[in-house]
């Protein structure tokens, strides 16, 4: 009996030692790893951080384990070269990280790598890989960002005034605002058009999605306060114009580089008559690649500060978007389509950066999001999505919003006008 018990106890102890020790699994907030001695160490830390913290492993087809096996020896070779007294060329390092990141799905992603042992002529040069930018530039309708909207809008106004349209008001400007001690600029054009039939169309072009921080400054006498006045005029023109005089609304998000998610409260919430779920988000809950939280609905509520029930009044709301509408610049038309039945989108399939981010300083939120040194870019800085978003049941990261009516600038010599013409045609005939 005793012998049997002893044998059983020994077997039990033997099995107890069979649990394996995990590898070192970093989470992306471990900024103490920013100083590296070797290229292998730098690569390994970034590889592990992306493995644990990348939000799109469910849709991204990159074989991340194969990346490790393929590239580790090449970084080790760089270390050997450095050990022999040679510096490492920028191009060599760029080619390696381009090979790793260039096909990834996250269209917000921006990878900044510091060359830790640079060739003297390359000193201070940072590797920059933007997989979204690379993919977008290969689309057959790709066209560079239209940079002179002021000139284009002016020539458009000149042209249409000869066609029976009237410009009742035109306010524009570039406005500065501060968020967490960082200064940013946003440009707006608010135009109140009058159609040949006498009805009105309030139009707004915005270079980025900064409605929320700007309109909060209404009346404070700052540059942002001036911008807020412009936005207030656009919203008042929508809410205060009698129905028979209001032909429709135009929000021009072409070239909109993104910004604040809370803008949805104004650009959609102002026209809602009940709360609407416009998208769902989830985040990396653990370090496993497919270890996600549950999907959480994101609701927009009616915003009574500026309010008009455009669905009940059947007022058309046209949103223009193009290949350079990025992030909130494209999430706005996406969500507006979901929330409001009179929304109609015109332009080009958008950029495809459809999932929200938080600043790298919010690294403790979950296992995803931007990480590294976003201030000095020491070691590395990886700008990547904090959440994965699903709109209308689909993950559209890397795909973007496809408008109801496709009008490509590329088919019109890059002209700014045909998409606007399409918007006025739609509203006139609505």
């Amino acid at each position: 009996m005793k012998k049997t018990l002893l044998i059983s106890a020994a077997i039990t102890l033997l099995f107890c030692s069979c649990r394996k020790e995990s590898d070192y699994v970093p989470y992306i907030g471990e900024s103490h790893k920013l100083a590296y001695n070797t290229y292998e160490e730098q690569f390994t830390f970034i590889w592990k951080s992306i493995s644990t913290g990348y939000a799109f492993w469910d849709v991204d087809t990159t074989d991340w384990d194969a990346v490790y096996n393929r590239f580790l020896p090449r970084f080790q070779a760089l270390d050997q070269r450095h050990a022999k007294g040679d510096s490492v060329r920028f191009d060599d390092l760029y080619d390696l990280y381009y090979g790793i990141f260039s096909n990834m799905t996250d269209h917000h992603m921006s990878v900044v790598i510091q060359n830790i042992h640079p060739y003297p002529a390359d000193s201070g040069k940072l590797v920059l890989i933007q997989p979204g930018r690379r993919e977008v530039s290969q689309r057959d309708y790709f066209i560079e960002l239209h940079t002179d909207e002021k000139k284009s809008i002016s020539s458009f106004l000149d042209a249409i005034e000869s066609e029976g349209y009237t410009v009742l008001a035109h306010e524009s400007g570039t406005f500065s605002f501060y968020e967490e001690a960082i200064s940013s600029n946003v440009t707006y054009h608010y135009i109140l058009f009058q159609l040949p039939d006498g009805r009105r169309v309030p139009y707004l072009w915005q270079s980025m999605a900064a409605f929320t921080p700007i309109i909060r400054s209404l009346g404070d006498g700052t540059s942002a306060g001036d911008g807020a006045q412009l936005l207030d005029h656009w919203l008042r023109a929508i809410t205060d114009t009698p129905r028979e005089q209001l032909a429709g609304i135009i929000l021009d998000n072409r070239g909109n580089s993104g910004g604040y998610q809370d803008d949805l409260d104004y650009l959609i919430g102002s026209f809602l008559n009940h709360p609407v779920e416009v998208m769902q988000t989830r985040y990396k809950e653990g370090p496993g690649r497919l270890e996600y939280s549950q999907w959480a609905p994101y609701y927009i509520n009616p915003n009574k500060k500026y309010y008009r029930d455009i669905t009940a009044e059947r007022i058309p709301y046209v949103i223009l978007c193009d290949i350079n509408s990025i992030s909130m610049g494209e999430i706005e038309p996406f969500c507006a389509k979901t929330a409001l039945s009179t929304v109609y989108t015109i332009g080009e399939r958008t950029y495809g950066a459809n999932s929200p981010l938080q600043p790298y300083t919010d690294i403790n939120l979950n296992y995803g999001g931007p990480f590294g040194d976003g201030r000095t870019f020491a070691g590395h800085y990886i700008y990547t999505s904090t959440f994965e978003a699903r709109i209308n049941g689909q993950i559209t990261e890397g795909i973007g919003h496809t408008p109801d009516q496709q009008v490509l600038r590329k088919d019109h010599d890059g002209s700014f006008r045909p998409q606007l013409d399409a918007a006025f045609n739609y509203i006139s005939k609505f």
Partner: protein, 228 residues
Amino acid sequence: MKRILFLFLLCLLQQTAVAQWSLGVHGGANSTSITRSHADRVDETYSSLCGFDLGINGRYTINPWLSLRADLSLMQRNHRLQRHLNYLSPVHTDHRNTYLTLPLMVDFSFGGSKLKGHLLLGGYCGYWMGQRVSGTTYTMSDYYVFFVDFNERRDFTREDRRFNAGLSGGVALSYTLADNIALSLDALYYYDLLSHHKGYLNLQDYRYLNTLSVTLGISYQFTKKEQQ
């Protein structure tokens, strides 16, 4: 495991006493904790949750102090992940896992003719049948955090290892009510040796479950057969 089976076979061959079968049912509650790597975020803790344990068991008595016991149990093995970051403190996920578990244990018994004590040692294999999660998650905008309650089935992914195995053992008390009927109170511990997270080639992150299960059972003794 092989050694335990070998010992058992030896005992079978040498037996001179009465061998008999019994079959029983048991049910009770358990508490499960998770053993994970130190990858935990600083504001994240894991804790135990209770679950149920229902099943049938069979016993083959080799001699008055030695028998072999096999169970087939439907067990919940539940645990909780809780965030503590100040503005995310409501966020938590209760993992409710259902396992079909098949422990096979050697039962050393001692005591009187009616009231007996038992020491059980062995191993188990199991299958992860389903998982359900409930709790509170969050979504956020630039200025606001929104908390959302959830309670839903979670699909398995390629990271989940559904086959499960480990060590089991514990103590039990049994009381014979009549010739063929016995009551038992079992306290069994299940110790995973297989991680339910598969991990990756260069990034293994093992997760093991530990379950203490307390059940009440009743068994019926079927046959009484003389053996050589």
